[in-house]
Subunit: 213 residues, 2 copies
């Protein structure tokens, strides 16, 4: 075997194996032995790259976040060019939710990390474990831009709208993952909310005025 190995690459492989295990048996039940078996290497090799379990878990979290972030970038890049802020908001939220097999797996494990962080201070100390820390400003900015284009009620606080949308996506994702409804239902719920917040410039009767006057 060669002497020099790309440690980062190897860590990525092992972190991928960790996520693959956690997706099935859960994060708490995934240890060195399972990861090693999944990756097809010895137990000690896992320890060679992740000396302690905390580092292993941390590596898995980094891997997870990188994959989610990559998916999000692709989704945004695939949007048609005249960047519509509402469409961007929708793209971000939809691709945050478990809408296909891959994203369902990612969300599942991410939820497991979030649950673990509730009681594990070492994980909670890691930035971006579960919260919308870095996404919230982005959404706030997009919502603000949409407001400047007159797409929403100017009296609404964009930060509140961003929080609401993120929380809704989170809740809908949780229900999808629990099997309470389908991914399509979740997307429908999200679109419904987007229509409510950013009413389409429609020739149809105005949504709300029907029940006034």
């Amino acid at each position: 075997m060669p002497k020099r190995v790309d440690h980062d690459r190897r860590r990525e492989e092992l972190a991928g194996a960790l996520v693959r295990c956690a997706r099935v048996h859960g994060l708490h039940a995934t240890g060195f032995r399972e990861v090693a078996a999944e990756a097809g290497v010895s137990v000690n090799l896992v320890q060679y790259y992740f000396p302690t379990k905390q580092q292993l878990l941390h590596g898995g979290l980094l891997h997870l976040r990188a994959r989610i972030s990559r998916r999000l970038s692709h989704a945004l890049a695939a949007l048609p060019e005249p960047a519509d802020p509402v469409a961007q908001v929708r793209a971000i939220l939809v691709h945050l939710m478990p809408h296909d097999q891959d994203s369902a797996d990612l969300y599942r494990v991410h939820a497991a990390y979030a649950a673990l962080a509730l009681t594990d201070p070492a994980l909670a100390a890691q930035p971006h474990t579960a919260g919308p820390d870095e996404l919230h400003p982005v959404l706030t900015d997009l919502v603000t831009r949409a407001g400047q284009q007159g797409r929403t009620d100017p009296r609404r606080d964009p930060r509140t709208t961003a929080t609401t949308l993120l929380a809704l996506a989170t809740g809908l994702s949780a229900y999808t993952t629990s099997g309470y409804h389908t991914a399509a239902d979740a997307v429908r719920g999200l679109d419904d909310q987007l229509d409510l917040l950013f009413p389409p410039a429609d020739p149809s009767p105005v949504r709300r005025s029907a029940l006034r006057g």
Copy 2:
């Protein structure tokens, strides 16, 4: 010690101890020994009432659900008499969210159960583990009643509205529990959404018309 003991009572006590432990160290890290120590009894006594760990976990879940349900009933009973459906919806959702120490603990452990159910088929098989199974019809009914009173857009599907509200409450609760924002912020977000869905019969300028025509 007396010969006859109310087993159900004892089980409640032990389940309470389980929840108290899980609140701090997490559900997966809570075993017979911690529960026994928390309850001030021997390890074997816990096993006497919950022979296996699955039964112990199941007992804790039942205890949890009973307490949440009791809190909800009290919240609904405390409402002023001419039952306003929107106020009832709000009461249900607010008291589902972690808005004080007790409900924060309950939500925390409930979230741990939900996370565990994602990978533990035995828990997932238990009804009402995490989903809004029994609350959704209630909310749908209340939203329908609100619609009959002309409080909301008649074109909206009450079931969709109920799902949205539940998912929003879930997401806001998750962020509160993760420490991303305060419980008051979460309630504000919920109230904002309720105002959006059920605009107050206001003398003030109509919310949405400001940006049309």
